[in-house]
């Protein structure tokens, strides 16, 4: 009986621990064209990266830009780096979008979509949180205003942990 209790307890422990450790794999690295210098993900090791995938035709992406600007402005000094990977096949459309919707954070261009493939992007936009050790710790599908408070909380928690 005692043994059974112990087994059940350890299974429960596993169930509790598994989700938190499940995603903690190294984030897939990439080097992409940026607006100036190339953007290399590994250059942000030691910082918290909010990795976003967007396209010019995607309406919620447009809504996410002001929020990402605000996050970069507020938390940049604490080590946050917003990196937004554009997936338009035609870079001109992306540039046009950026003229209408200014981005005050790092923007990279992947017309091949290979990075999105690696990160298994399922909806547009999708975003990922990468901790200071370069580990993928969270995934978010889509962008809704109501989610921003929770997202910001997650960013703050990651920034607080060294």
């Amino acid at each position: 009986m005692n043994k059974l209790v112990r087994i059940v307890a350890s299974l429960l422990m596993l169930a509790v621990l598994a989700p938190s450790s499940g995603l903690a794999a190294k984030a897939e690295g990439f080097t992409l064209q940026g607006r100036g210098a190339p953007v290399d993900l590994s250059a942000y090791r030691g910082r918290v990266v909010y990795l976003d995938f967007w396209a010019s035709w995607c309406t919620p992406c447009r809504k996410s830009f002001p929020w990402m600007n605000a996050m970069q402005k507020q938390y940049g000094k604490y080590g946050l780096e917003v990196v937004a990977v554009n997936l338009d096949e035609n870079r001109g459309l992306a540039e046009q979008f950026l003229r209408q919707t200014p981005a005050e954070f790092t923007v990279a261009f992947d017309p091949t979509g290979r990075t999105a493939e690696h990160y298994r992007v399922q909806v547009m936009p999708s975003s990922y949180l990468i901790n200071r050790n370069g580990e993928l710790v969270a995934e978010h599908k889509g962008f809704r205003r109501v989610d921003t408070a929770r997202l910001e909380k997650e960013i703050r928690q990651l920034l607080a942990s060294r």
Binding site: W57, G113, E117
Partner: protein
Amino acid sequence: MRALLPGVAVGLLLLGGCSAMGDALKFEDVKPWQRGVLAQDDMQLVPDAMESYADDHLYFSKEAATGGKGVGGGGCGCN
């Protein structure tokens, strides 16, 4: 038996050709980030919501054809 061999060879070749064709005809799924063209205005089923609303209204008022479009309205004269 000897006469059969060329026929078998041709058959095998044809089979090979068919499977190669099959490969060429396989459609790959459209990835979420490849929907740029589908998202264009020209690609929408209803290109102009206001115009389509006006069309619907004319259709139902001039032809007394309530119903048949959408779910509600069954020609009971109540709308």
